[in-house]
Structures are given as C-alpha cells and as structure tokens.
Amino acid sequence: MTTTAERQAVLTAANTAPDKDWVIVTRGVCREYDMGGEIVRALRGVDLAIRRNEYVAIMGPSGSGKSTLMNTIGCLDTPNSGEYWLNGQKASEMKDDELARVRNKEIGFVFQTFNLLPRATALANVELPLVYAGVPSAERHARAKEALERVQLDKRMGHRPNELSGGQRQRVAIARALVNRPSILLADEPTGNLDSTTSEEIMRVFEELASQGQTVIMVTHEPDIAAHARRVIVLRDGVVASDDRRENFTTKLGL
C-alpha cells in the first residue's frame, strides 16, 4: 500500500532514479508554450508519483493542463523544466528517437478519436507498434491476434475502421495499446466519442485490464468515468489540486 509519506519521499529525492516500483514520477514538471508571443504556462510544477498496477484518473477543467500532462507522461512532449522518470528512465532529458522508442515499448495510447489508420485493417492497426519495434511478420500476426482476442475482436480483425462501430474501434485501439505489453496504458478521454452504453463496455475492459495488473492512467473530465479509477488526481491551473485514493473502491473490487 502506498502511503502519502512514501510518495512524498519519492517526490523530493531530486535527480535520483526512483525505486522500480514507481512507474511514473514527475518532480516539478513545468511546460510553457509560446502562443504567438504570449507565454502560456500549461504546467507549473507538477509533482506526481504513480506505482505499478495503479489505476489512475487525471481530471480537471479545460485549460487545467491535463492534456499537456498526458502528452508529457506519454513522452509525446518533454517538460521545459523538472524531472520526469518513466519506469526508472529519465524521460525528461531524452532525445526524439529515444522518446519514440519509449513510446513504443513503455506506453500504450488510447485516444478519444481512436486514431486508427483508416486504410488499414484492424489487425494491421494492432500490428503497427510491433512494426516499429522490429518484430518479424509471423510473430507480429500472432501477437496482434492475441491482443484482439483479449478485447474480443478477433472475429473482426480483417475489417477496416469504417466497418466497425465506435466501441469496436476503441477496442481495436486498446488492443493496439496492449500489443507491445507496455508499462502504462495511457487513455485520453477514451469514452469521449462513445454513447453511454458503449462507454460502460469500454470501462469494463479497462477495469478488467487493471485487475490483471495493468497500470492504467486515464485523462477525463467526466466524473462518472473517473469514478472507475482507484485514484483520482485533479489538476487545476497547471498544478495538482487534489490526489485522492479510493481504498473503498479497491475493497469493492476485492483487491
């Protein structure tokens, strides 16, 4: 069990690699953008520590910096200052190609708009991270099929995204996120484009993955979606405003 004291200790140990139990540690992460001469300070010193196997929701009103934080955690973007440790590696000082490698190996993205390649089949979409990992073709097929089985879509793997429903598309995206066995599953408003029934279906997939020990980090502005997570971090004006653990929720799921 993580205690606040323990977390505090990890966050203050600047320039030291955290224990391997901590999959994500950010220390005073700042990110500023130059929007046509005007400096926008999206993140103003975010301190976060997330353990392996946690199921975390990041919430906050628009403009609170949650997208920027998600991009930073997802290694799509690097902070202007502060440290970001991902799985024991200092991602905040990585070059583009190292970041690409980390995105490929450590992170599985699930986007609000699914972001599937329209002209590729479900199977080809799921194979994509393996292509960039240099996995040979036969193994790629097998692993992609396995990942589609995990989200019960192996029957539709020959279909293109436009032949699939929204929920099915998102499940393809989840299979794609999982195929490289990432350290974290990073979901950005995963139900934002889905109706409430389909949303529940997708949330059940996340819950199942979390119960299997997958670290899940989900960015959302919907409280009922965030309620599925066992820990909710709220951002406001580029800093962490609150960080609540839901022990009762964990108990309810029997963990």
């Binding site: 973007d77 690409a100 995105r103």
Partner: protein, 414 residues
C-alpha cells in the same frame, strides 16, 4: 522498422491511389522513355558503325599507309594542317620495299582516289568516287562483282581502260540497261564497263554504291594524282588481329628509313586502322549520348518536381497519420524512410514504365524508319537508377518535413 516493411507500406499506399500514382509517375516515365529511345538510336547507329560501316570502309585486320589521316578527329589546327601539307607523299617506289617487309600471307594494294564526274550517253553525268588501284584492293574490301567480270591480271598490270562501277552509278548512267560492255567517259576518255559491283549499302541516307574502280595504270590515275609516281596510300590486310601490330611496326620502320627520319622525329605518315575510324565515331557518339541524356534530363527534372509536389501534399494530407505513427513509436528515420521509399517506388515505377515504352519506341523506330536502334542494357540500368535517384532526391525534402513533425501537433491535426 525494416526496409522491407517500408517498401511494403509504399506499395500499399500506391495501390490504394492507383490513378494518382500513375499521374505522379508520368513525368519520370516520359523522361526515361525519351532517354531509352534516344540512347537506343545512338547505340543502334554505333552498332551499325562498328559492325557494318567501318567494316566496309576499312576492312578487318587492315591498316592504311597514308601521308595524312583520311579521318580527322575534331578540329584540325592550321599548324597541323600545314604540317600535313609539308609531308612527303607516299610514292609508287615505296610500295615494293613495304610489300617486302610484310608477312607472305598479307594482302596489299596501293590506291589513289577522288571524286570525279562520270558521263554516259544514256543518263545524266554524275560525280562518283573513283579508286584506281593495284593489288588485291577488291579482295581486301570484299567487293564482289554481280554482273560482268572483275579485273584480270592483264587489266591490272597493263592498265587497260576498263572499270567496275557501283550499282547506284550503273542505274543512273544506264537506266534500264545492262551497263556491262557499255562505255563511260571520265576526264574526256572512254572506259569500258566490265562489271557492276555489289551493293555496299548506305549510312544515314548516303549511298556507298556510287563507286568506280579502275586499274592503277589506266589513264584515270592521272586525274587522281597531282604529281608523277605519287599515290594516295596503301592498304595492307594481315591474316589475324594479332599479326596487325607487327605488320604495322615493320611498315613504320621501312617508311621511317625511306623518309630518313631521325629517332627523335615524329612519323610524317600515318598508319590508320579501323580503330581510328571508330575513335572518330566514338567522339561523335559521346556528344550524341550527352545530348540524348541532357534532353530527357529536362523531363526528369519536371518529373522530380511533380513527385516532390505530390509528396509534399501527401505529407500535409497525412499529418495525422504521421502523428499516429509517431505516437506508436515511429522514429524520425522510420517516417523518413517511409516517404523516401514511397517517392522512390513511385518514380522507379515511372522509370519502369518509361523503359517499357522506350523499348517499344525503339522497336517502332527500327521497324518503321531506316534508323537502326538498339536498346543497350546499360541504358536500362541507368533508367532504373535515374528512377530511384529522382525519387530519392524529390523525396528528401517532403520526407524530412514529415519526419520532423511534432507528434502532438500532428495528432491534433485532422
């Protein structure tokens, strides 16, 4: 990402956009097509020169001894020309010592030639290439006689007023008549046609069948040589190519001695082989090939610009896709490779079409015009390399733009 994956991806993209890809590749296709066609014409003429023309003009394993070259390569300077004119002429008296130095199985002839008007009572007068010779000139040049007879030993040694004329000349001077035993007038004197020779063909619309052969000692030789006992040259044919250098060296030795040249002095005569003629042709050919490459190059530049433009559009269109790929772990190199290979595949595909069309064009020219064409294997290789090269060059800029896209910004773009 492996190279093969990138090629597969490129093919998939091209397959999806067949028509667009076709038009994109068209520029390179046309450029390569012209390259292949033009080079095939130049090469075809080259083959023709090497195999047919030079063999006819200058016989195989032979060389000619002349006081100055009959074929001049490039511009001859005034000084060189004056030096040629100061050279002593080859004389009848040189023939015997030269022949004595040759291997016994060598064929030889001495000759003088020039272009002179030939008249008959049946047709318009015509200027013809007249060669007066002694020796085995017709054997060396492989000129046979189709009707009538060739020169007898007596004709040659006594210099009777008889001639063998070419088929074109026979047709002009004696339309619809048999030329044999009829008379032609050269330089005011009458000569009896004893035979009509074989056709030597033509090159570039110029007939080689406008010839007259006559015995050296016949009166015609006075029209050909300004000074007494002067000859234009000698032709020597040896049995094998290996014997050629030795024979040339012994003739050179004899001639240097007869011209009393000191070791430091240069030869004041030339020994021309068929290589000399080919050298001349190769010089022309190099210019033709250059022109043949320079003109299609313009087409290829246009093709490259088209491909670059299309690739830039493709990068803009597929920004979101690039973002997805980057998010999933595509490195800069992977994106660069993807677009470079797509551009190269497009242009190589265009080049392949161009090669096919060029080969068809070359075949069409060969069958429909008198121009000989030959599709050289090297031009196909060059065509493919140009295709790939144009793709790489025109792909570099769009691909590097794609690879440098910021993944966050790219993902945001729809």
């Amino acid at each position: 990402m492996k190279f093969f994956e990138a090629v597969r991806l490129a093919f998939a993209t091209i397959r999806v956009q067949k028509l667009k890809s076709f038009f994109t590749a068209l520029g390179v296709c046309i450029g390569v097509m012209f390259l292949i066609t033009v080079v095939s014409i130049v090469e075809g003429m080259g083959k023709y020169m090497e195999n047919e023309l030079v063999g006819k003009l200058i016989a195989i394993n032979s060389f000619e001894l002349r006081h100055r070259p009959s074929i001049n390569i490039g511009d001859v300077s005034r000084e060189t020309w004056l030096e040629y004119n100061r050279r002593p002429r080859i004389l009848e008296s040189d023939v015997e010592p030269v022949v004595a130095a040759l291997p016994t199985d060598a064929l030889w002839a001495m000759y003088s030639n020039g272009s002179i008007q030939v008249e008959s009572s049946f047709g318009k007068p015509r200027s013809a290439q007249i060669t007066a010779f002694d020796g085995q000139y017709l054997e060396i040049k492989k000129v046979g006689v189709t009707t009538g007879r060739s020169f007898s030993q007596v004709d040659i040694s006594t210099g009777t007023s008889v001639v063998v004329i070419g088929p074109d000349l026979a047709k002009r001077l004696f339309p619809d008549l048999n030329a044999v035993d009829r008379q032609v007038k050269i330089g005011g004197r009458f000569y009896t046609v004893i035979g009509v020779g074989e056709s030597l063909g033509s090159a570039f619309g110029m007939s080689f069948d406008n010839y007259v052969y006559a015995p050296f000692r016949s009166p015609v030789h006075r029209l050909l040589n300004p000074g007494a006992h002067q000859i234009d040259g000698m032709i020597v044919q040896v049995a094998t190519a290996e014997a050629l250098p030795d024979a040339q060296e012994s003739v050179r030795g004899i001639m240097r001695a007869r011209h009393q040249l000191r070791p430091a002095q240069k030869d004041n005569f030339v020994l021309e082989t068929s290589d000399t003629a080919l050298e001349f042709w190769n010089k022309i050919k190099s210019y033709l090939v250059l022109a043949g490459i320079a003109l299609p190059a313009i087409g290829l530049v246009v093709g490259a610009i088209v491909i670059m433009n299309i690739m830039l559009v493709a990068v803009a269109e597929r920004t979101h896709e690039i973002g997805i790929r980057k998010a999933l772990g595509a490195k800069r190199r992977d994106i660069l490779l993807q677009f470079m290979i797509e551009a190269s595949t497009l242009s190589t595909f265009g080049a392949a079409m161009g090669i096919a069309l060029g080969a068809i064009g070359a075949y069409a020219i060969r069958t429909m015009t008198p121009m000989p064409t030959y599709v050289a294997p090297w031009s196909i290789v060059v065509g493919v390399l140009i295709g790939a090269g144009v793709g790489i060059i025109s792909g570099v800029y769009p691909a590097s733009r794609a690879s440098l896209l910021d993944p966050v910004a790219a993902l945001r773009q729809e």
